[in-house]
Symmetry: C4
Subunit: 233 residues, 4 copies
Amino acid sequence: MRQAIYNIIDTKNSNNTIGKYYNAIMLLTIGLSLLPLTIKANHEWKYDIDNITSFLFLIDYLLRFSTADFHLKKGKASFLYYPFTPLALIDLLCLSPSLLLWNNSLKLLKIIRLTRMLRLFKIIRYSKNITIILNVLKKQKDSLIIVDVFALGYIFLSALIIFNVEPNTFPTFFDALYWATISLTTVGYGDIYAISAIGKLITMFSSLIGIAIVALPAGIITAGYMEEIRNHK
Amino acid sequence: MRQAIYNIIDTKNSNNTIGKYYNAIMLLTIGLSLLPLTIKANHEWKYDIDNITSFLFLIDYLLRFSTADFHLKKGKASFLYYPFTPLALIDLLCLSPSLLLWNNSLKLLKIIRLTRMLRLFKIIRYSKNITIILNVLKKQKDSLIIVDVFALGYIFLSALIIFNVEPNTFPTFFDALYWATISLTTVGYGDIYAISAIGKLITMFSSLIGIAIVALPAGIITAGYMEEIRNHK
Amino acid sequence: MRQAIYNIIDTKNSNNTIGKYYNAIMLLTIGLSLLPLTIKANHEWKYDIDNITSFLFLIDYLLRFSTADFHLKKGKASFLYYPFTPLALIDLLCLSPSLLLWNNSLKLLKIIRLTRMLRLFKIIRYSKNITIILNVLKKQKDSLIIVDVFALGYIFLSALIIFNVEPNTFPTFFDALYWATISLTTVGYGDIYAISAIGKLITMFSSLIGIAIVALPAGIITAGYMEEIRNHK
Amino acid sequence: MRQAIYNIIDTKNSNNTIGKYYNAIMLLTIGLSLLPLTIKANHEWKYDIDNITSFLFLIDYLLRFSTADFHLKKGKASFLYYPFTPLALIDLLCLSPSLLLWNNSLKLLKIIRLTRMLRLFKIIRYSKNITIILNVLKKQKDSLIIVDVFALGYIFLSALIIFNVEPNTFPTFFDALYWATISLTTVGYGDIYAISAIGKLITMFSSLIGIAIVALPAGIITAGYMEEIRNHK
């Protein structure tokens, strides 16, 4: 019996027809559980949705816990280890807001709403496609760390220079960091920018050099992804 | 006689001299038919252009319909199938506004104007170059779907977080989605952006990570296109 | 004697020491001749610079004309053909403003100033590096034309849709084209953008799809350039 | 004894355990020394931090100087050459503000603060990862120079045209250069943009063509970097 349940809930087992339905339902539940977060007004049905989806998440959690030994293959010890695996922790965190909501503590409500967003990460478990991209990130990890450190260093340097050159435009160093990030990613909202001639000169140099550096991680991920699909074929 | 007509209107048959002229004239007609859409004022000649181009489109449609058996190679049944092929449906939709305009129903006029834009898609039939790019999209379809789903998921997640963190800046969830799209594509008009410190922090993180993800589809299309021309040589 | 002059002014002949100096002086003269264009005020010395640089351009033109037979290798006919080669036409156009300035016709002055900018193109003759990039453009010509036509078509389609959906924001079709170009190249100044919900929705779709299309030419040039340097090694 | 010190401070010698701690401490000191630059208010502890970090930099400088013969391998002459090597000059420049601060000359304080930023470059000495990226830049040097000159030339040309076409929007040529840089890097703050129809037309052409040119350096660095890691494996 427990073997049959495990075959259904195990996402790697794509031959199981009931398993596919289970996957689809859980994906739908995740989507449904996020719906109340996209609306401001306090409708009654928002609580209903939350109760229903939380109940389904609870069942899912219990089913997974009860078949932990099939998943981790460590015998009885599996039940001890399982609650501390990353995906199980996310599952638990996704449940907690609803468990707390039944006490209806108003003050905590806002922070609780944010933790509910973690439910989107549950999608990792139910979506094969995301694992391909996570695989690329894992393979290119070393490169990405170097390049990201370099990009962040460049953003920090740009922010440091502009903050000391044009202190009137940038009230705090955080504003300078925000400016550097928005400029070097070429988003450029236009809410904050250098006004003085020397500040503009720094903006020009910083953009011309920095864009190449900040674009490096994107280039590596794209190239890594292209290789990944070439190998799959 | 019907064989001769088919040789002219068949765009794949590039050896036919009259066919080339026919192609050029139809491309010109499509361009001409879109001209009234680029001007606001209600000039008399706009209706004239519409009448002339619609008449040419009608003839084109009838010619194609009458040679459907050469095109689909299914005998008499071709005439039944043909009106439901994608390109024939576009052709019909492009005709409909003009057919309706002769009744001059004022209320529907605005919506009708929009359907006229579909005529631009008729260009697919008459332009060989576009088929190369459509070919790339077809070959990279699987990758593009994964990567697009991932990019849209990331945009959705960013919108969800900012909407709950800074509800005062974003009146509806749609505004948050708009902000996330405009930011992560690095367009960054500056009409909507986070104001609070926490909102700016999320903007920074979201941009630094998200740009790589949202740029992935562009990278795949470019790489796929480069391979396509390399294979052609 | 004419052979010796030709050896000096021929930019392909990089072994000639005097030729190198001649090249450097002409590059400097081009730079100097553009200097008056970067300053608004009407200083006396602007006319002096113009007279001196124009005199040097005139000598250069005469030297090139007198050795046209070495360059075109068509005997006496070379002198007839030479003035109509592209680079010779640019040389002549660069001279003309100065020749006309001696008449001091005030009305034409503004338009004349613009033709002077063509002098920057003279740099092509004196700079080897630019020829490498022009070479890439020549090799990838066919691809670039297809991709550019597609990109321009997409920009036109986006402009057409937004112009008909949100006529209040975009006074003329030119404004819609400007908006589409600035949005899809991700510059996004923020001087013009859709305000209505449907307009924003179109902006989102248009950006997500269009950026890949508009970025294609840049990708092809980069890839073509990488191949070019790989072949050189 | 001097040999032992050299083994510790030499960053290439990664087997030395004490050397690793020394490296980590110096990286921390650089970070700490930059902290006062990120805060505007004049706190007491800013001077304390500056004194402590400067003292550590001074010791580091003296240790490096005293082991210069091991580093440069030129015998006694090493002590004469060492202070003029690039990294030693940066080290000295980083020290100078603090040395001058003890005199507390108020007027010079602002300029001195900026030189302190050079300390970030000291990080080059202590970070292996940055050397990989510097290696890429070194290998692709020739390409990058060509492409950068071309990109800067294009920015200059765009600025020259817009400055003469729309002099009312751009007070000085510097403003035009700033506009061209911010537009072609697609940052597009929206603080300065063409207003006239002809100016907008130039913006459109300039963006469509220029983005490919200005993006070339970024493409070369990414491709060069990908090759570098492929060779390492």
